[in-house]
Every structure is written in structure tokens, then in C-alpha cells.
């Protein structure tokens, strides 16, 4: 997809997620007290309400929980079709990421496919996309 992706407004909660790719890191906010993951990221743990939370670099591997092949160009510069997927991260229980599965034909994606993160940078934002593990 060559299209200009929507650009998130960075704040203290989401900055580590959207810029971690510069260091090759997929950062998911984690609680240092109970070990639970918090996504979307917040300043407080949704499991134990501890405020001792911080970004944690996960492995960046996971599996396709579900997906859809999008055929509708919602914006004029959007190239279709492409795969939108919900990826379940291996080492962040309970966290799903909406993302794109790239570097393969759209009909090559199925549930439970093993995937790994690959970052695409646009204008200072590092978008975590995923590709199939060969």
C-alpha cells in the first residue's frame, strides 16, 4: 500500500507504541506489579490498577486470530485489495493488534498463520505490520 496512512496524534500513553519501530521494538505497555499487559496503552493497569506501568518490548511474533480482505477504497489513494488482520501476540496474553498482513498475496492469509512484525515508517510513525513466517 502506497497510501498515506492515518497518522496518530502522539501522547504519553501511545508514543512508545507508535515510535518503537525506530529501534526495531514492538512496545506494549505492561504492568510491573502484576505483569499484565494493557492495550490500548493507559497510565494505569486495567488488571490491578497499579500506576507502575511501562512500555515493554515484546518478541513481535504472533498468529492471525482473524482477518478480512478489504476491497473498498475508503480513501482515494488507497490501493485495494489488502489484508486487515487481528494478530494475537505470542507473549502478551489478551492483546490483539489490528494490522495489515504484507509481503504475500491477499489470498495466502488464513487464521492461525504464524506472523512476525515488520515496521513501515511514514512521517515519524513506525506502523507495526506483520508478514507470514516462512
Amino acid at each position: 500500500m502506497a497510501w498515506q496512512r492515518s497518522r496518530p496524534r502522539l501522547d504519553n500513553d501511545n508514543r512508545a507504541f507508535w515510535t518503537g519501530g525506530a529501534d526495531g521494538k514492538l512496545n506494549i505497555t505492561r504492568c510491573n506489579d502484576c505483569g499484565g499487559f494493557i492495550h490500548p496503552p493507559r497510565e494505569i493497569c486495567r488488571h490491578c490498577q497499579s500506576e507502575n506501568v511501562a512500555p515493554f518490548a515484546v518478541a513481535g511474533t504472533g498468529s492471525v486470530d482473524t482477518y478480512t480482505v478489504n476491497h473498498q477504497a475508503w480513501a482515494k489513494d488507497m490501493d485495494v485489495p489488502f489484508v486487515i488482520a487481528r494478530v494475537k501476540l505470542d507473549d502478551a496474553p489478551g492483546v490483539y493488534l489490528t494490522t495489515n498482513i504484507v509481503n504475500c498475496p491477499v489470498d495466502a492469509v488464513d487464521v492461525d498463520d504464524r506472523v512476525q512484525v515488520v515496521f513501515e515508517e511514514q512521517d515519524g510513525i513506525w506502523y507495526p505490520l506483520f508478514e507470514k513466517v516462512q
Binding site: R7, H39, P40, Y67, T68, H71, A75, I84, A85, Y127
Partner: protein, 386 residues
């Protein structure tokens, strides 16, 4: 009866695409019809409720506030509300029911006005929601990946049902076929003719497994329901329809973190709030902004087991007007138009009163369910003719 709430009037504006009549006037049209239906006058109205309240950043989605309506109708209200942070669209009617039960109002206008088709055609008057830069809140987790539409978010849940439980496109199609068949004999519906399986299967894809006919389309309309207190129903001329139970929930509002649709917890809760059971229900009006959503409601409300929604729809006979559980008898949102939730309450009342005309189901229906919401948010009403 004094501690009960009833729907005593229903009204609807013209339903169209790219209407030029303003959304405020469409709302007033619907109010006038509902007031006349109930046999009330404006000076008897003392409450207003709407979902989601006027949204300045997304005017086509919700262009009229409760304050706007109170102003132009010259109402003297004792209670009003317009809120998005509630249990989906029909939550506004549930809140009105609670208000009249608590004695805070006697007759409440509940409305939902949509103007998305006209807004798209007149962006200078109704600026579209910004999806490209400075996205924040929940939108930031989906829009950057091209998942702009609830079609994309809902399609993924439908795909999961296909992979996990074997839901087929033929089964999914029954929602659209049923909606079109019912809309074709509803003079107020946008859709004027039935749909065939061939039409469905040859339609262009939007977001797999959804094709064009699985997605509602932008509509301009206003729908009004009047909720009255139990000790005020001798002031109305219609058969009062009791709001016997309500339920609603939100399940990880960000959409993509939810394991299940809100329809599941809400469906379970509805039965905790009443002595009625699923077997007592004569007709269901289930939110179908996308064709998959009624499957979550059928399963969540216990009309079939989890994963069995596709089989329940198979062949379409069970949900037809003469079937065991007539569904979306007015055409639903795929046939009537994207009335955004309130159309389901409107049609439930039509059927319970026996005023459906050509689309009226048989057997003197006495119990109906109306639901709204897809994804993580959900609201349900159990409506009865006592």
C-alpha cells in the same frame, strides 16, 4: 402499572438518500407523527432523550441535539438526555423508561436522526470526520491500517465465525434476502424489490466475507418513539406497548480487543431482568448494520447455541414472516435504511399493535425483542402487549 414504562407513540420522517430537507425539520416531522399517533399534544411532553447527542465533529452521524429539539418545539421539559456514552442506540429508550418509572417525566420523546447520505453530498455544510491526521482515541488503532469502516471491524468477527463454526456465505445471505423481501412490501423502506441469491453472490465484495448487500448504506431519516409513564397511559389513544425489560453493556470499547460482541452479555442479561423466556418471543428485530450482527444476537439471546447462528438462518424459512421466529419484518437496516437502531423499536411496536399491513405477521404477537449495536456495544429491549 404505575411503576411501568410504555411505548405509546411512534413516528418517522421521510426516509431517503441525499435529502435536502434539514435534519432538524426531519426530526420535527417524525415528532409530529409520533405525537399524533399517541394522541398527545406537545404541551404534554416533558422529557426528551436521544442517542448519541449532537456530534460537532461528525455532524452527518448525529446532527440534532436534545436541546435543539426542546428549543424549536417550545417544550417545557423536566428531564432530558443526549449521550453517546451509553448502552448503544436503544439505550436512550431504556433511559427514558427509567426516567418515567422514577417519576421524572410523564411523556418522553426519544429520537435518532441520521443524515449521513446528505452530509456526504454536502461536505461544506457537514464536514466529514477526520480520519487521516491526528487520529486519536480508538480510531488510532484501526484507521492507520486502512480499517476505516465498521464493515472491516465486523467482517473480522464474521470471518472468525466462518473459520471456527462453519458459517457460510449462503447462510449469511439469508439476512439480506429476508430484509429485502420484507422491505419490498414496506412502503417506507429504501429498498423496493426482493434480492435473489444470484444477485447476492455476484455483488462486489466490500470486506470479506461481506459483499455490498451485507452492509447498510448511509440514510437520511429521523425515527421517534414516545415513552410514557404507567400512570399516564390513559392520556394516549394507542395500544400501549410495555417495556418489560432492558439490558445493555459494553465489552472493550476499542472493538479490536473484544473477544465477543456485546450482544452476548447483553442477551444473557435481558433474561435475568424478566420472567419471559426465549420461547415466548413472537418476533425479533435485531440490529443488522452488517448481516453478521443478527447472528451474534440470535446466539447471545439464546435462540440457538454459540456457533449455531448460521444453521439457524439456513434456508431463511425460520426467520421469514411466516416462520417460527420472524426477524426484521420491516426490512432491517439492509432493507429499510440505516435508521441506526431506532427502526427496530419502531417495527417491534408496529408488529405488536398488529399494524404491519402487508408485512404483518400472524398469530397476534404479544412479545417482541428489539436490539441495537454491533461489536462491543449492545442494548436490548423486551417489549410486550399485555
Amino acid at each position: 402499572m404505575s411503576n411501568e414504562a410504555y411505548i405509546t407513540g411512534i413516528g418517522m420522517s421521510e426516509v431517503g438518500v441525499r435529502l435536502t430537507r434539514s435534519p432538524l425539520l426531519l426530526t420535527v416531522d417524525a415528532v409530529k407523527e409520533a405525537i399524533a399517533d399517541a394522541g398527545l399534544t406537545l404541551d404534554q411532553i416533558d422529557g426528551v432523550a436521544t442517542y448519541p447527542g449532537k456530534m460537532a465533529s461528525f455532524l452527518g452521524f448525529s446532527p440534532v441535539s436534545s436541546d435543539d429539539l426542546i428549543e424549536v418545539l417550545g417544550l417545557e421539559t423536566r428531564w432530558h438526555i443526549g449521550a453517546a456514552e451509553t448502552t448503544a442506540q436503544l439505550g436512550a429508550i431504556a433511559e427514558a423508561a427509567n426516567a418515567v418509572k422514577a417519576g421524572l417525566a410523564r411523556h418522553v420523546i426519544c429520537f435518532r436522526t441520521v443524515y449521513e447520505a446528505a452530509a456526504l453530498a454536502r461536505p461544506e455544510e457537514f464536514p466529514p470526520m477526520e480520519r487521516r491526521k491526528d487520529v486519536s482515541g480508538n480510531s488510532q488503532w484501526v484507521s492507520p491500517f486502512g480499517a476505516f469502516s465498521a464493515a472491516n471491524w465486523t467482517a473480522q468477527f464474521a470471518m472468525r465465525h466462518m473459520k471456527r463454526y462453519g458459517l457460510t456465505r449462503e447462510q449469511l445471505a439469508q439476512v439480506a434476502l429476508n430484509d429485502h423481501a420484507n422491505a419490498a412490501i414496506n412502503p417506507r423502506a429504501l429498498v423496493k424489490k426482493p434480492l435473489t441469491m444470484d444477485d447476492y453472490m455476484s455483488a462486489r465484495l466490500i470486506s470479506t466475507p461481506f459483499c455490498l448487500y451485507d452492509c447498510d448504506r448511509f440514510t437520511d431519516a429521523s425515527t421517534v418513539v414516545i415513552v410514557s409513564a404507567g400512570d399516564a397511559i390513559d392520556e394516549v389513544k394507542t395500544t400501549p406497548i410495555r417495556i418489560a425489560a432492558t439490558a445493555g453493556s459494553v465489552e472493550r470499547y476499542s472493538w479490536d480487543q473484544a473477544e465477543w460482541a456485546g450482544a452476548y452479555p447483553t442477551g444473557r442479561d435481558l433474561w435475568k431482568n424478566t420472567d419471559y423466556q426465549p420461547k415466548d418471543v413472537d418476533t425479533v428485530q435485531l440490529y443488522d448494520g452488517f448481516a453478521f450482527q443478527p447472528i451474534t444476537w440470535l446466539e447471545g439471546l439464546g435462540f440457538c447455541g454459540i456457533g449455531e447462528g448460521g444453521l439457524f438462518l439456513e434456508g431463511g424459512k425460520r426467520i421469514a414472516r411466516d416462520g417460527a421466529l420472524p426477524m426484521n419484518t420491516g426490512g432491517g437496516q439492509l432493507g429499510w435504511g440505516r435508521l441506526h437502531g431506532f427502526g427496530f423499536a419502531f417495527e417491534a411496536v408496529v408488529q405488536l399493535r398488529g399494524e404491519g399491513g402487508a408485512r404483518q405477521i400472524g398469530g397476534d404477537p404479544r412479545v417482541a425483542i428489539a436490539t441495537s449495536g454491533g461489536g462491543p456495544m449492545a442494548a436490548a429491549l423486551l417489549l410486550t402487549k399485555d
